[in-house]
């Protein structure tokens, strides 16, 4: 256990992990600046925070984290574990008084912790920006929900890269597949799901069936897990024509139970699969 903590502390203190946290915080500072900076109107009397305003801010944060967290998690997972695993550097560590499981999980938790701290600090920065503009800051429950959602996304992508490094042999393959996952799950996901729903499932945009299917597809993609959390937390659909109108998330299958179950699954399954691969095929 002491060697597990030793390895986790060392990973957490690595330059890359610190840089990752700084990037998340800088990006969120830009968001806060965008909300409250010179570009935005400065009322004499601070406006009160409305439900719709909260939803807009959470959607802005969601859009930033949706791109930022997967790309940082993938990069971190690759540098901290995937690269070492595939180029053989990890072997000189494995022969020390530690186990593969300790190395895998300690590095995973260190990466996840850096994502968590980055999210926590960036959310606080955005909250401070919002508080300087509005009479009050963001609701604590919503901030915690967003942090938890993107911690799930970050942990899932870190775990996926760890898993990839046990499935393929070369650094190039790990990096190539990780970039492919990013393109499919983040950049082109909206287009892919839209085409699936319209062409394959023959669903019409704006219908309850379309919304339900979109939620289900968001559950199978960790990058979009945050969108479902925001939907649940704000009671406002993120999807197309529904934006800004109050809806019941449960009607779309977004309940606390489904969110917790899917969240735990995304945090645990990729990294446990990576561990199982290491045990079975090494």
């Amino acid at each position: 256990m002491q060697n597990f903590i030793y390895e986790m502390q060392r990973t957490f203190r690595s330059k890359l992990v610190i840089v990752m946290m700084i990037i998340i915080i800088l990006a969120s500072s830009l968001v806060a600046y965008g909300i409250t900076g010179p570009g935005s109107p400065k009322p004499v009397i601070k406006p009160s925070m409305t439900h719709a305003a909260q939803a807009v801010i959470f959607n802005i944060m969601n859009a930033v984290f949706l791109f930022l967290i997967p790309v940082l998690a993938i990069f971190e997972g690759y540098i901290i574990y995937g690269k070492d695993r595939t180029n053989g550097v990890l072997e000189s560590v494995v022969t020390r008084p530690t186990t593969k499981g300790q190395i895998l999980f300690s590095r995973f938790f260190a990466c996840a912790a850096s994502i968590f701290i980055g999210l926590l600090l960036s959310t606080l920065i955005i909250d401070a920006g919002v508080a300087s503009y509005y009479a009050t800051g963001l609701p604590l429950s919503m901030m915690l929900a967003l942090i938890a959602a993107y911690l799930v996304a970050g942990a899932a992508f870190i775990g996926l890269v760890f898993l990839l490094s046990h499935l393929v042999k070369s650094q190039t393959s790990v990096l190539g597949l990780a970039i492919t996952i990013f393109l499919v799950m983040v950049i082109f996901w909206d287009t892919i799901t839209f085409l699936i729903l319209i062409l394959a499932l023959k669903l019409s945009p704006g219908t309850i069936g379309f919304g339900k299917a979109e939620v289900i597809l968001s559950f199978i993609n960790p990058a979009y897990f945050g969108s479902n959390v925001v939907l649940y937390a704000t009671d406002v659909s993120l999807f197309g024509g529904f934006f800004g109108t109050g809806i019941n998330p449960a009607a779309y299958g977004v309940t606390l139970t489904s969110l917790v179950a899917v969240g735990i699954a995304w945090m645990a399954l990729p990294i446990l699969s990576a561990y199982a691969m290491a045990k079975k095929f090494d």
Binding site: N3, R96, P97, T98
Partner: protein, 256 residues
């Protein structure tokens, strides 16, 4: 964490490989097939075989890099699979092709490795400096490992393997890639480790080296241990101008 100075609490310090089988896939023959071998304290066992015979696979299983398909490997009485941390606390490993974090400097890595043995930064630095001097690298401590030649990496690997002064060593084709000075150093080192009671498995396909250094020579072919020659047998083979190489080829059934 195991303090390096307090190493082993096990009563039988040695390497025991029992019925080791390693299969990389369900199809095809096993890379190592039912191999049983014991290396006692103060003994150098040469491990000879052609390329692909199973020498490196055996050593990788013994050091915990790969898992055995079946069989047991005990290091100082600790099972490499179920008691990995205890087993690895008394193992030194020098791979055929050392591979280290390319952007690290040697002392950084030695300090990192030292942490696994409960050594603090100062202890690791002092011990590391002694080992880097012994391996002829004290003048290259400011270079990153990516700028080291293969021979220098092997010297560094030797230093890293001795960091915690382990009781058991696995040298995998260690003489390959070393210059004559390095080869002489390894010969002296292995003899010195033997005199201090260390158990050493020395893999090589250079039979001349093994016949002078080893107390016993284990010959592996296509994953199977085909013969273990003790010192008397080695001497008998070499009597009247005989060559170990000829004996080796006759044992594995190759007419070269």
């Amino acid at each position: 964490m195991i303090k390096y100075a307090q190493r082993s609490t096990f009563a039988l310090p040695m390497i025991e490989i029992r019925n080791l089988i390693k299969r990389y896939s369900g199809k095809g023959p096993a890379a190592v097939d039912d191999l049983t071998l014991t290396i006692n304290n103060g003994e150098i066992v040469g491990f000879a075989g052609l390329n692909g015979a199973g020498k490196t696979t055996t050593i990788r299983a013994c050091t915990g890099i790969i898992y055995p398909t079946s069989g047991t490997i005990l290091i100082d009485g600790a099972d490499v699979v179920s008691q990995k941390t205890a087993a690895s606390s008394s193992v030194g490993w020098v791979p055929e092709l050392p591979n280290f974090e390319p952007n690290a400097k040697p002392m950084q890595l030695l300090k990192y490795y030292g942490g696994f043995y409960g050594m603090n930064s100062e202890e690791s630095r002092t011990r590391g400096m002694t080992l880097l001097e012994a391996t002829g690298l004290s003048g290259d401590t400011n270079k990153k490992l990516r700028n080291y030649s293969q021979g220098m990496k092997k010297r560094f690997s030797l230093a890293a393997s001795m960091l915690n002064d382990p009781r058991n060593y696995f040298f995998d084709e260690t003489l390959n890639g070393l210059d004559p000075e390095g080869i002489r150093y390894v010969r002296k080192l292995v003899t010195e480790l033997k005199s201090r009671g260390r158990a050493i498995l020395l893999s090589s396909h250079i039979l001349n080296e093994l016949e002078t250094l080893a107390d016993r020579i284990a010959i592996i072919h296509r994953g199977k241990l085909v013969e273990v020659l003790n010192r008397e047998k080695i001497d008998a083979v070499m009597q009247n101008g005989g060559r170990l190489e000829d004996h080796f080829f006759s044992i594995i059934g190759l007419n070269v």
